[in-house]
């Protein structure tokens, strides 16, 4: 467990900003406890400080996970968000998409969201902005990237892709092995 270097912190926050915008501040400064980002084996964990201190008693080789895993840094230096970060992305999301129950399954198997499956979309969504996908009953299902802005969506073809799939909660069973 080590602190993120400044460059990596920047990369991480830039990524997060795509999804939750200025709400990152609320992740950093929380009223309940001090939370921080830590890195181990290129994975980034978000964890409260007291827990982190206790975790240091365990040898890093044997430490599998602490707190919540947000994602990992790829070999090429980019940051990849994992589905495990959804717990924090969903409540703070800037741009949300609600999909119809008929399209739920499609999305949970890793497919993009087409306009036909689109139930609702938040007002000011820009093109290529990170979006969090919800079911109509407000269940967070995953996240992706808006393929069109809100206005474009209105005029789009019913088969046109509205949101590119990035990650969904189906991964918990589809790829449990490489969740971390």
């Amino acid at each position: 467990m080590k602190r993120l270097s400044e460059e990596r912190t920047k990369i991480l926050f830039e990524k997060l900003a795509k999804y939750i915008g200025p709400n990152i501040k609320q992740l950093i400064e929380r009223p309940d406890a001090i939370y921080c980002f830590r890195e181990q084996k290129d994975r980034v964990y978000y964890v409260s400080e007291p827990i982190l201190k206790m975790a240091t008693t365990i040898h890093p080789d044997n430490l599998i996970s602490v707190g919540t895993c947000f994602g990992k840094f790829t070999k090429s230096g980019k940051f990849k968000l994992h589905i495990t970060a959804l717990n924090y992305l969903a409540p703070y999301a800037q741009c949300k998409i609600w999909i119809k129950s008929s399209a739920e399954q499609q999305f949970l198997y890793g497919n993009n969201v087409s306009k036909a499956g689109l139930g609702r979309i938040s007002e000011n969504c820009e093109k290529y902005q990170g979006v969090v996908v919800f079911s109509m009953s407000d269940l967070p299902l995953g996240f992706g990237v808006a393929a069109r802005s809100t206005t474009e969506c209105k005029s789009a073809d019913p088969l046109a892709v509205v949101c590119f799939h990035q990650s969904d909660i189906g991964e918990y069973i589809r790829s449990e092995e490489d969740l971390l």
């Binding site: 920047k10 926050f13 950093i28 400064e29 093109k127 209105k154």
Partner: protein, 339 residues
């Protein structure tokens, strides 16, 4: 007669002083004259030993030595410069070595390789006939050098080569290069066999160096300025080499001190800098926005128009409608779905 008696008495006295030359033994000794060795197989007399061990040993040793010398005298003797010499027979007993058996010389890198590949060493003749010079030239040595000089008094300038280049010098350089390369190889072999650490740097053979070495070299070179590389710009996607801090000027192997400011504050600063970035002109976004306002305006106009009933007339001209270029205003932009 007194004299005679005296002499006889003296000699007998003297002979009494010495022990007799003959020694009686129950069993014969075993001899190996080549190593002047005699082995006494007789029983050890414990009675005598317990009485006076020193004397017993002394006597025993004397007797056996006497026997050994008797045996020596049996060998054919010769006289060299007034000294009696005996030629000893070859030794029968094998003596153990004083020093350990030398280990075989460890193989050099090439020898090892050749052994693996089964390459046999070819014996080169010491002299070879030179057709040009019409004489026998040795494989090496001053005569060979002389012959070379005689033979190569002129050198061809290869095509595409710089005509001003000194070909002789070039050849000389190549030769010295080769010699030093061999020498380096020799040293390497020795170092390897003696388990000596060879320093990592200082070898700049382009054939051996790798990307990793290059990275290390860059890192070190950058730090090797008067200000320890403080003002050196970073290259695009440059990665600092790891594990070279020991030989990089100004680098410490210890972990850097964490900044004194609390982590939260630092993170906040980074977030601020990200969020407050000046937005660059995003064409797509601008177009989308424009479209949205347009459609909004149009829709409102349409609504107004229909209510007034003047919309239809407004667009009508005397011109003939053109089918292919038709541009139906109603479908422009988003608007209500017509399905």
């Amino acid at each position: 007669m007194d004299v005679v008696n005296e002499i006889l008495g003296n000699s007998s006295k003297e002979s009494n002083k010495y022990k007799p030359v003959t020694v009686k033994k129950h069993l014969e000794l075993e001899y190996d004259l080549g190593t002047l060795l005699a082995v006494d197989p007789n029983d050890f007399n414990i009675d005598l030993y317990s009485k006076n061990p020193n004397e017993y040993f002394l006597n025993l040793a004397r007797d056996n030595t006497q026997l050994l010398l008797n045996k020596l005298w049996e060998l054919p003797t010769e006289r060299v410069e007034e000294a009696v010499m005996v030629k000893l027979p070859p030794p029968k007993t094998a003596l153990p070595r004083m020093k350990p058996v030398p280990k075989p010389r460890p193989l050099t890198k090439w020898q090892k390789f050749a052994k693996e590949k089964g390459i046999q060493k070819k014996k080169k003749p010491k002299l070879s006939w030179d057709d040009q010079l019409k004489k026998w030239v040795p494989l090496y040595g001053f005569k060979k050098a002389k012959a070379e000089k005689e033979k190569n008094w002129v050198l061809e300038v290869p095509q595409n080569a710089d005509p001003n280049e000194d070909q002789f010098n070039k050849k000389l350089v190549a030769k010295t290069e080769n010699v030093s390369k061999n020498d380096l190889q020799r040293l390497r072999n020795i170092a390897k066999n003696k388990n000596i650490k060879v320093p990592r740097f200082g070898t700049s053979n382009p054939e051996v160096s790798s990307a990793k070495d290059l990275k290390a070299a860059i890192t070190i070179a950058k730090a090797s300025t008067a200000s320890l590389g403080k003002f050196q710009d970073k290259l695009h996607k440059e990665v600092e080499a790891k594990g070279v801090s020991a030989i990089t000027p100004g680098a410490s192997r210890k972990r850097k001190m964490t900044p004194l400011e609390p982590e939260n504050k630092l993170n906040m600063n980074i977030v601020e800098s990200i969020l407050n970035k000046k937005p660059r002109l995003d064409v797509d976004k601008a177009v989308a926005k424009q479209l949205q306002t347009n459609t909004f305006v149009e829709n409102s106009q349409q609504k107004q128009g229909t209510s007034k009933g003047s919309q239809k007339i407004k667009n009508k001209t005397n011109k003939k409608p053109k089918g292919s270029k038709g541009h139906r205003a109603g479908k422009k932009g988003g608007g209500r779905k017509r399905r």
